[in-house]
Every structure is written in C-alpha cells, then in structure tokens.
Amino acid sequence: MKNSKKVTYSIILAAIILAFLFFLEANKANYGMAYTVLTKGAILAVVAVSMNLVTGFTGLFSLGQAGFMAIGAYITAIFLIPTDTIQDVYYISGVSPAIINFKGFLDSTPGWIQALAPYIALIVGGLAAALLAALIGIPVLRLKSDYLAIATLGFSEIVRAIISSPQLDTITNGSYGLKKIQGFSSIIQTFVIAGVCITLMVLLIRSTYGRAFKAIREDETAAEAMGINLFKHKELSFVIGSFFSGVSGGMLAMFMRSIDTKTFSVSLTYDILLIVVIGGIGSVTGSVISALLVTVSKEWWLRFFDNPLYIGNFQVPFFRTGFRMVVFSIILLVVVLFYQRGIMGKNEFSWDKIGNNFTRFKGFIAKKASKGGSDHAK
C-alpha cells in the first residue's frame, strides 16, 4: 500500500474519531454512559501503554503502576482543588500551611498559567513519579522477573500506606481522600492528552532506545555484548514508564473528581496488567484497543447481567448484582485460553494488514473454503 494512501486513511480515521468525540461532547446528557466509559478507557490506555513500555518492550515485570499513579493523582489533585473550597476538603484535620501558601502562589500567577494549570499539574505529578522511580530503580532494577514484580508491588503498597498515614493528614487528608478536584473541560481534552502521551511513548519505542529496550527483553547477555548498557536502559524505560503512569494517575484524579488511597490498591495494577495481557504484551495498539474494550465491557456492555431478566414469566437464574463480574471473568478465561498472546500479539495496527485481511476476506467469500482467520501461534 502506498504511503500517501496510508496517510489519507489515517487522517480519515482521526477525523472520524474526532467527529465522534465532538458528537459525544454535544450530546453528553443522552450518552452519559459512553462518555464516562470512554474517558476512563482513554486514561487506562495511557497507563496500559506505559506498563507495556516497561513490561512488554523492556521485559521488566513491574507491578508498581498503582503507586506511581497515586503520586501523580495526589499531586494533580492538590494543584487542582479550587482555593475557596480547600478548607471544606480538609475539614477534619485542617490544611497544611504549605498547601495554603502554594495555592496562594498559584492564584497570584498570571491568567495564562492558571489556564494551563491542569497540564502543569499532570506534568509535575508525572515528574514526581519519575523521580521516585529513578530512586527506587537503582536497587530494584537489579532484580529479575518475579523478584522485580514483588519488589515493585511492595513499593506500590508502601506509597499507598505513606499517603494514608495520619502524619500526612494535613497534606493528603489521610484516609479521607481529596475531593472537589477540577475535572476535564471536555472529553476531547482527555483524548488529546492521552493521545499526546501515547504518541510520545510510541516515538520512544520506535527510536534507537526502543530498539535497545527490545534487545534487553529478548536476550540480556546478547544485548550487553552489543554494547547496550543494561542498567542505564532499564532505568530509562522504568523512569519514563513511571512518568506516564503518574500522568495517567493525575488524569484519573481529574476524571473521578475525588480520590482516596483505596483507589490505588494493588487491584488497580492488576486491572492494568489484565488490559496489557489481553491487548498483547508488546503491542501499543493492542493495549489501547484492549483498554477501551475492557473498560467498556466491564462497566457498560455487561451491565444487563446485573439486573433481573424475565423471559415471559420465567426469571433467568443468576441475573443479579455482581453476576456481570462472573461473566467478565469467564470471558477473560476464554480469551486467555484461545488468544494466548492477546488480541494483537506483538503486532501493531497497520493499514497494510487491514488491506491484506480485506483481500483475504474477499478471497474467502469467493472460495467459501479455507479456514479463515489468522493463526497466532508461533
């Protein structure tokens, strides 16, 4: 397929997505569910791609995402709670003078900086997460596979414990969480931020650094023999991955408008891991598709399982609150059994492949024979 043709297709696709988002934004009231679910999906896509960068492309099995997200979320939240409501938020233990001073300083900055506050907040949140990742990366990245997973998991829980500790009540509001956080102005803003983050990570993966990451994933010894400094590259991937985890944590805070430490428990990391595995470990497009798909089906499409269902006078058994999650788990089992390498495997979306599949499909229709579908096995 010609490059110009691919560009045209990509522009058309982007335009369709954008038009769809504008449509959603204009009819927010009628499509509330789609609006919420897609926003959450976009946020989870960012963190899923960041986890994929670390786990899928560099081969570091890290389970610290929730911790980094918590750091990003709390910093973004403190930035974005309006000054006049801050006393209401910290009504139990009072606000630390540092935060009051900081808010005062923010309010004294010129208008354009205040308009950019959400972006600054997200970046600062990401940078804080990245800094912490750089520090803990020094000891932790010497570990391999499951040992690294356990260490990062422990780290994530430590972050959560520190945030909810009573000593930090005046800053993080302890276990009460932060409320009244300024949200996104529109779904388009969410998608643009998510899009920029994912594009930056894709550019990194496509650069020579990305190639070095993949080499480390494939074979550490061989990568080292090629002159790739293992520690430097692992640290780089870990820090950048954590930066974007922090950013997506901030986005989650803006989406939920109120956060507490329970949001960032281990189960959040597992949700993200699930998205990455279903999308395909080592595929960015897989992570994005699966983030949207998993969120949409979990929160929306499977909802009807939670309500009693009558066929005539017969009440279908099991249809009650919580059944949705049972069905979801079964679907997961089936997916993992039959698509062991995820939806996309290690492949990325490309127009060429769509074109090939289309041609094959036409051939399939003509012949009405052959197996059809592509074999994902090695």
């Binding site: 020579t208 190639r211 070095a212 993949k214 080499a215 494939e218 074979d219 010894t221 061989a222 990568a223 080292e224 023999a225 090629m226 002159g227 790739i228 400094n229 080592g282 290690k346 090695k378």
Partner: protein
Amino acid sequence: MKNNLLTIENLCVSYGGIKAVKGISLTVPEGDIVTLIGANGAGKSTILRTISGLVKPESGKITYNGEDVTGVQTTTLVEKGITLVPEGRRVFPNLTVLENLKIGAYLRKDNLEEDILRIYKLFPRLEERSWQLAGTLSGGEQQMLAVGRALMSRPKLIMMDEPSLGLAPIIVNEIMSIIKTINKEGVTILLVEQNANLALRIAHHGYVCETGNITMEGTGAELLNDETVKAAYLGKAKKK
C-alpha cells in the same frame, strides 16, 4: 613482527570458589585469526566472556591496542572495537533480521546504510529475509545473523564463541569461509572452537586449552599435525 592487538597475561577467573581459568596468557596479533581449542569446561568461553567484560577477572591483565582494558565495561569495549559473537548465536528472536543488525550498531551514531549493504553482500540470505523474525531463521542463518550483527559495530577484533555449534557440516564450512573473508577485509579474529579440525585449518595461530590452562600453542598447521592434538581433538588415533 606484527603488532599485538590483544594480549592476555596470567588471567585467572573464578566462579564462586571454582577456578575456571588458571593463569592463562595469550596474544592475538593484528590481522590474524587466532583460535582457542579445547574440550567442554576447559575455560574457553570464560576467557572470551572475561575479555568482553561480561565476567570480572580475579587477577591478570588484558591489554588491547596497548591499553589496559582489564575489567572495563562491555559498552566501552564495543566502542573501542571489540565485539563478541556469543555462544549459541543468541539473536533477538522476536525482532526482524534488519532490527537485529541495527542493534549491532547501537553505539554508532552515523549512517548505517553502507554497513547494512555490506552485510547483505556478505550474507545474501539475510537480505532475502530482512523482514523475517530472527527466531524463524534456520540455525545457520541465525549464526550468519549473529556474525553480521557483530560486524555492524565495525569492530577491529571479533571474538566468536563456537560458531559451529549445532550446525550441519556444510553450513559450518560456509561459516568458516565467511570468517576467512571477514579476516581478509582486515578484521582480527579470536575464534573459540570445539571443532578443532576446521578451526586450526583456517587459523594462523592456535592455542590448546585444558582445564583452565594453556597446554600447547603453535601455528594452525603445526597443531593440526601434532600427535597429541590429533589424538585428543581431531579423532585420529596415534600411530604406533
């Protein structure tokens, strides 16, 4: 007298309490093929891994181009022009042939086009398969890729760890002739082999390694005709 590109003096390496290399000295003259032969566990691979900085030596000195490089990081050594073709090929299985080659030149910031063409000229089969995943290549093709990948860093010295491992005799011959071609282009080669017969035939100089010591040295031809070597490594019985 040729300039010695690599000199090793009294090198000792231990893994935990086990001495794998017990005071080995050898020299690699510039522009030559030097081979190190010996049975399993003789310490050949350990020597290569120590030279390339993957293992730290206990004592001894490694000099490259007149410079002490004992215990220097692998990254620095690759920059200086020493590249290792690791044992068992170790190509990156889920990356394409082209990506594998590009990783070989990871430390170079200049244009790679010319080098890639050069590698494709040397190994036409790699060009045919440049978009194939390296893990789907045959063993011989993977070995060619491993050699090509090492050449991408424009090394002065290539160290090869058993390039004939697990390959059919006809492919081994092909690999050996490629090694000779690379050497004629001016690259010095340190070849570690169990296939003593082939290695000694192409080598200018050979060392025989036994349980961490060097027991014999000489030109390739000398060692090929040596009775002890013949009996131990070439599978020919001693004449009585």
